[in-house]
């Protein structure tokens, strides 16, 4: 058993980055995510493992530092909150085009614009539909506990390098700010330069005599080549869709209705589920762990099982609900409930929405 600690979600993510053998973190403070860089600066991983921690001059600089370091095969991470993540979108599109493995976290707050510093889940579209330009995807992991804030850092780095893709930990103000018990995994040693050279033949590790140049770029003015590159990217996303869907089913065996939720809303919906079951309503919970890839097949299996209706619970005006509708494809009723703009819905409100909007609506 690993080390047991009481930590904030943001702190657990920062500590996990050190332990996952990250080579660098580049960031810029913003509420409700600032504890990540605060923790790293206080913990001095440059003394513990040699990991670099740098406060960049802006979010834009930070994501481009990630591009550079990731391109050389280093395990590199950044994090921010909604307005800061919007600034990073250009860099993320370039990272997708250049197939640079990296990890970043968005501890979402209410928007649009500067919005509020309170929790929100209104960055779903930006996260799963591509916030930058071009046909691209990134793997999106949605932690629902402090434990997962830590565990998904290690998983995220592994997936990033397995597929040469950006992995996003999509969290929010609740999961980032709350403290829970967390069991920390043991230190993974950082890779040596020699190991990187051997393992990642694409990485720009310095040209040796007699070897070919390695080029990391998203640019190709030959459109036929660019189309081919896009086909390659799409094949990769298809592979990820086939292999990396993650979810959790809670109380769905005898369910007539199902809550679909991720992150803090999944925790809240679990309580709503308990409240509804006390009233005799058979409701279960499909907790999404990956948002891309989306568990379409699992939702179809639930339709086969005879589920009458799905309530998408998210702190937004209704974003994830669209993917639920696409998956259900008219075979059951789909409705949405959520408070937004920085308001967190209560378990009682969600339970009431189940009765009034989904069942009675």
């Amino acid at each position: 058993m690993g080390e047991l600690k009481l930590m904030k979600g943001n702190e657990a993510m920062a500590e996990a980055a050190i332990r996952a053998g990250a080579d660098a973190y580049f960031g810029y403070p913003i509420t409700p995510q600032s504890e990540v860089i605060e923790y790293l600066m206080a913990e001095k991983p440059f003394e513990r493992t040699g990991m670099v921690v740098l406060q960049a001059e802006s979010e834009v600089a930070a994501i481009n530092m990630v591009y550079g370091a990731g391109g050389s095969g280093k395990r590199v991470m950044t994090s921010s909150s909604s307005p800061g993540v919007s600034l990073k979108q250009e860099g993320l599109s370039y990272i997708a085009g250049s197939e640079i493995p990296c990890l970043y976290a968005n501890v979402v707050r209410g928007g649009p614009g500067l919005g509020t510093i309170q929790p929100s889940q209104a960055d779903y579209f930006q996260s799963v539909k591509g916030g930058g330009h071009g046909d691209y995807k990134q793997i999106v992991l949605a932690p629902a506990s402090v434990q997962e804030m830590a565990d998904f850092v290690k998983l995220g780095f592994d997936l990033a390098f397995k597929y040469r893709i950006a992995v996003l930990i999509l969290s929010d103000g609740v999961i980032g700010q709350m403290m829970e018990k967390v069991e920390l995994f043991d230190q993974v040693p950082r890779m040596t330069d020699a190991e990187i050279k051997e393992k990642y033949p694409w990485a720009t590790t310095g040209k040796a005599k007699g070897t070919e140049r390695r080029i990391i770029t998203s640019l190709d003015l030959d459109s036929l080549k660019m189309e081919k590159h896009n086909h390659h990217l799409q094949a990769k996303y298809k592979l990820i869709t086939e292999n990396e869907v993650r979810f959790e089913l809670i109380g769905c065996e005898d369910a007539e209705y199902v809550f679909v939720a991720y992150g803090s809303s999944a925790r809240i919906a679990q309580k709503s589920m308990q409240l509804a079951r006390k009233k005799g309503i058979k409701v279960g919970l499909l907790r999404l762990i990956t948002l891309f890839p989306f568990p379409t097949k699992q939702i179809q299996t639930l339709c086969d099982q005879g589920i009458k209706g799905f309530l998408a619970v998210e702190m937004s005006a209704g974003q994830m609900v669209e993917d639920v509708q696409l998956s259900v494809n008219g075979r059951a009723k789909v409705a949405h409930y959520g408070r937004f703009g920085g308001i967190v819905h209560s378990p009682e409100e969600v339970e009431l929405a189940l009765e009034q909007i989904l069942i009675g609506g």
Binding site: L4, L6, T31, P32, I117, Q118, G173, V174, Q177, M178, M179, E180, K181, S264, R267, I268, Q270, K271, S272, M273, Q274, V344, S346, P347, E348
Partner: protein, 184 residues
């Protein structure tokens, strides 16, 4: 067994750290715990509150609107959270600075003169530990030995010499809590 608590007062009263000590004690007790603070500008000089859940089972929502116990340390928090106590639940408050006392008849209400007791002990900083002691008297879900273990774990070593003072404050809280209104 699950205990859902809200602690609410002014920023600087030690509301968040009291919640943290409770959470640590829960861990020492092998319980599942969650600690969800209010965060942002409202903490600085304004109101601060924290939701703490201690449970033998996996905790679902860390965000709650109904609580088994409310510990209320200023008037704004009384206005906001008196109505959030579950019928049959407990409200503990420090009457210092309270102008509108709680009036519910479906909960048990207790007073603890935390500010006064801490001042008499010569250290206003241990106010939150007096309040914690009062709570522990009513809800033995958290035992003193685990709180001390939790303090040892959460405080940097250089502050460990203050643990006996904190223990005294807890004992004073246990001694001074008194009923204000009890249900039949």
């Amino acid at each position: 067994m699950t205990e859902e608590i809200i602690i609410a007062g002014f920023g600087g009263q030690g509301v968040l750290s009291m919640g943290k000590i409770l959470a640590y004690s829960g861990i020492m007790h092998d319980q599942e715990v969650s600690w969800m603070p209010s965060y942002g500008p409202e903490m600085r000089g304004g109101t601060a509150n924290v939701t703490v859940i201690l449970s033998d089972e996996r905790i679902s929502s860390p965000v709650l609107t109904v609580f088994d116990t409310a510990i209320i340390l200023n008037q704004q928090s009384m206005d906001k959270f008196e109505k959030s106590v579950r019928p049959g639940g407990i409200l503990i408050y420090d009457p210092n600075g309270i102008t509108h006392h709680p009036s519910r008849k479906d909960i048990n209400i207790y007073q603890i003169e935390g500010a006064q007791v801490a001042a008499e002990m010569g250290n206003t900083k241990i106010f939150n530990m007096v309040i914690l002691g009062a709570y522990m008297k009513l809800k033995p879900i958290v035992q003193l030995e685990y709180v001390i273990k939790g303090l040892k774990k959460s405080l940097p070593e250089r502050y460990h010499k203050l643990i006996p003072l904190n223990e005294d404050a807890i004992n004073m809280g246990m001694k001074h809590i008194k009923p204000y209104y009890l249900m039949n």
